[in-house]
Symmetry: none
Subunit: 146 residues, 2 copies
DNA sequence: TGCGGGTGCTAGCAAGAGTTAGCACGATGG
DNA sequence: CCATCGTGCTAACTCTTGCTAGCACCCGCA
């Protein structure tokens, strides 16, 4: 997103990653090896000089044995509560016993059911609506000059 | 990783996003406005020419009313089973936005899909590999190119 | 018919993500 | 004492993200 300059979030992410790494008794190079990321880059991430991409975070999560969601949250990419309620969509997408086309139709049916119900319920729902305002702290980047 | 040459995954993400956008009856510029992302960039994303960052995905998810995780999965950034194994049945049953009858029919469809496939394992399989050629249906066919 | 506004798209630039090479320091141990 | 290995870090580069400008097309309206 737009040259967003966050700052804090990155720091804390770096700190968190550093903690996890030393806790796992890994050197930068070892972790680099496991994640497939270069060690100088990891170093920069830990010191908050760089914002790792989602892929890198994903690898880091795997190597450090923490959940990817956790890292995303630390990175400010994901808001905490989003994690809990998500739902049928994910389960369907995750299901390897279905073809993509089947998934799609299943989700279509699902969506139509929900909208037919007036879709008020907390169950899952187009998550978010606009709950986005609060706590935007991290993601930010509104600024639209135009 | 890094310099990863994904490709396929990106395509399908673009297709999915395009679907969602037209389904929401939004133009590129409207969506751009809502997400804070430029419209040319959105265009490129939809056509699979660019891989949006997690932040952008996040904004897109918000504007299109789909869960961020869902997009991550489509983008191939997050692979579903990395978390817990989520079962479709459980998710459906837990969904308070559906009536019991709807749940039942949804699960019927689900079951028939799976058995039609000879459905191998329950919910866990390497996924990864082929998630590629799903229904690309809609995408093409708008105006004449150039 | 020509103008304004809507659509999506291309071109080209700026900044950032992530790379390889290589440095400085501290432990080893020959 | 010097060689070597391991640690984290800097420097300089490349490729990608995401931007602004601006084009080509289609429509409605005067």
């Amino acid at each position: 997103m737009a040259r967003s300059k966050v700052g804090k979030t990155v720091d804390t992410l770096g700190g968190y990653l550093h903690e996890q790494r030393v806790a796992a008794k890994l050197s930068l190079r070892q972790l680099a090896e496991q994640t497939g990321v270069s060690n100088p880059y990891l170093s920069q991430i830990e010191r908050g000089l760089r914002r790792p991409s989602a892929e890198v975070l994903q690898q880091l999560a795997k190597a450090l044995r923490v959940s990817a969601e956790t890292l995303y949250i630390h990175a400010g990419i994901l808001r905490p509560e989003d994690g809990e309620v998500r739902s049928v969509e994910l389960a369907v997408l995750a299901d390897t016993g279905l073809t993509e086309r089947q998934k799609q139709s299943l989700l279509d049916v699902y969506a139509s059911f929900r909208s037919a119900n007036g879709a008020g319920g907390p169950g899952g729902e187009p998550i978010d609506g606009d709950r986005g305002q609060q706590n935007v702290t991290t993601i930010q980047a509104r600024r639209t000059p135009r």
